[in-house]
Symmetry: C2
Subunit: 411 residues, 2 copies
């Protein structure tokens, strides 16, 4: 006799792997569907570049050059190498100051993190992570059921002293995840000497540094920290992207890593989607190389745009809230991480009061990697894709919300 199952007893959902069934649903951060969106709401939610900084007409010109010859253009529609097209790897390598074999093209920075987790984090292994942390990294970490070990991030990025203390105390993370430039969410940049120390620790203790650097090209004041140390060490996977410069919708980024890691990433990639769109790579190669001053000129304009927005937002916050806010002027990137100095502030209450007034942002406590409610007095404000008038209006609404919570008149 055959065992015949009752089809009603098992829906196809019961076929999901334990891995897939265990993946967390977004809560708060990263879930647009949870938002109550109303016309006129001002959202400072995501690290999104401004439409006006994106190369719409320039990419069309590239398409005209790449596709005007039917025969040559057809190559853009055919299979290509998993590590990326040679010309794109070469351009990236030249900009990073490394050999092309250290570069693999990815579908954006997050994809580089995802490949790194699969390739380098053994199931259930401990991973030291920024605290506060870019929350979507914790989502990627679910691929390996990695255990997040929080390491503090201060005004100058990851606290390397705290990490060293953890290591000396016997901590053996498989990897250390940090955003070195214009930290997300907390603005700071890891100084060059701390980068060198971090790499030395990685070599001594045998871990890998996952350096997630999507904002590095968007420095608009101050002095650049050492990028080379993150691209040249075999112990660092330096994750970058065109998302914040050419546009996140392109899903085009890269990783710089030891050649043997690049080979491993290619093997993983060959079990996913084989390679990034040949067409898109061809278009972007043309965009970057047709006029080799274009990318830097474009970045200059973008930096000026984002600097103005950062300064307007920080200035308006100080002007409106006075001693109720502490805010640092950022040196680059897309985020402010102000502290609201109301004693005993309930972050849910402030976020709700602000949303009721049509001003939404990411709550600081969403960025805790400790599992405890931390950063309850912080808010992350993303100014990349909002013009200065909108930012000023945001502050007016947000200021009213702070006042209302302070006065207890918000409910």
């Amino acid at each position: 006799m055959t065992t015949v199952l009752d089809p009603a007893a098992t829906s196809v959902g019961a076929s999901l792997t334990t891995f897939t069934a265990a993946l967390s649903r977004p809560r708060g951060f990263g879930d647009a569907s949870l938002r109550r969106r109303r016309p006129g709401d001002i959202e400072l939610l995501g690290g999104i570049p401004d439409d006006s900084a994106l190369p719409v007409s320039e990419l069309l010109a590239s398409a005209q050059r790449v596709l005007s010859d039917e025969r040559a253009g057809a190559g853009a529609f055919q299979y290509s190498q998993s590590a990326g097209l040679d010309e794109l790897r070469a351009w990236i390598a030249a900009r990073e100051g490394v050999a092309p074999e250290r570069v693999i093209v990815t579908n954006g920075g997050f994809h580089g993190l995802s490949l790194s987790v699969l390739a380098l984090i053994e199931r259930g292994a401990p991973v030291a992570v920024d605290n506060p942390v870019f929350p979507l990294f914790l989502r990627a970490l679910e691929l390996s059921a990695g255990r997040a070990v929080p390491i503090s991030v201060g005004p100058h990025g990851l606290d390397v002293d705290e990490l060293e203390h953890h290591l000396r105390g016997g901590g053996r993370p498989a990897a250390v995840y940090t955003v070195p430039d214009f930290h997300n969410p907390s603005q700071g940049t890891l100084p060059s000497e701390q980068r060198v120390r971090l790499v030395e620790l990685a070599e001594r203790y045998g871990f890998v540094v996952l350096a997630d650097n999507p904002y590095r090209e968007l420095r608009f004041r101050g002095t650049d920290a050492d990028q080379r140390v993150l691209s040249e060490s075999d112990r660092v996977v330096h994750v970058n992207t065109f998302s914040k410069t050419l546009g996140p919708g392109l899903r085009l980024g890269w990783v710089v890593a030891a050649p043997e890691l690049v080979e491993a990433f290619v093997r993983v990639r060959n079990r996913q989607d084989s390679h990034t769109s040949t067409l898109e790579q061809r278009l972007v190669i043309d965009l970057l190389t047709h006029d080799d001053t274009w990318f830097d000129r474009t970045l200059e304009r973008a930096r000026a745009l984002y600097r103005e927005r950062a300064d307007v937002l920080a200035g308006a916050l100080r002007e409106r809230l006075g001693e109720l806010v502490e805010v640092e002027d950022p040196e680059g990137g897309f985020f402010l991480w102000p502290r609201i100095t109301l004693p005993g502030l309930d972050p849910a209450r402030l976020a709700e009061a602000s949303a009721e007034r049509g001003a939404t942002y990411q709550r600081g406590d969403f960025f805790s990697s400790s599992g405890r409610p931390e950063f309850t007095d912080r808010v992350r404000l993303a100014y990349g894709d909002r013009d200065v008038a909108t930012l000023r209006e945001f502050v007016a609404r947000f200021g009213d919300a702070v006042d209302a919570v302070a006065a207890g008149t918000d409910r």
Copy 2:
């Protein structure tokens, strides 16, 4: 005291996960780097569409429409939904005759298989697969360390009787993988009544059918089998792609599945690269909808092209090799699967003799899923991207190789 590791003792390669370190390196099939390529060699290796059938000028026209307005065009550079853009899902859903929520956009057909393996194959679970099989599916199966259980494929696709026998005998595969239309490598198409039986077995025994259907739009003779049964059942993941019609370099495909599986795939996807390029989806939406007769007209031309190539290749083989070859006229797709009737044929010897004469193909034994050397008398010839003169020259060279092996004069 701290345990300080000797950095020389652990290269970064030692940091690779056991999963990654265990991924197989390509052997034979799918490894271009193993080929000795010489000028003038004729390769009938891959399921690749012809350059002349790809929409180069049409996609440029789409780019002009999508990107000519700076403001509207910028949307193509921004983040979008993980399941794909609504307009593309709607177009696909209409073509499949299903609701849009059953569709998720992927980076090509292989990506759909990869997502299916992650979401539906528990680690180490048995998976019934075509024998002969598309070998790269076995590579995707490594994501879950799935165990392939071979089920014969005959002239009419998967042997559903053999599958049922396996199930009645207690076999409990998590999934059944098959190519229903113009099987890769063996040409056959699963008849409608066998599709219905396959779905009934899936419902009764609680497995998922992974129906990998990249060639289905390329039928150039005969009558289409039922596609709906593969798209409407909650027990089937119907994997499709634009790779063979618009070009594999686009890495653009889709899956039709039960809405709860689509949601699960989105959760996995959100740990990979978030979504397929917005720009590429926008361009293809325009391409498919600007003139709603365009896609079918383009397919008509492509089918005529591939039919001629298939017929020239099959005819030339019969003419040149006579009783030394058995070959069926295909009804669609990109492959011939001829049998060479030399008794005791050594497939490596024939492949080498042919390669020496500048004619390369995929050996039949590369497609065995049983772990045993099967299909040693078969060769897979891919004619999609070779013109008729080239195909005739291939047969002249290959015929000489068969003669030489038959006469023992090849070494």
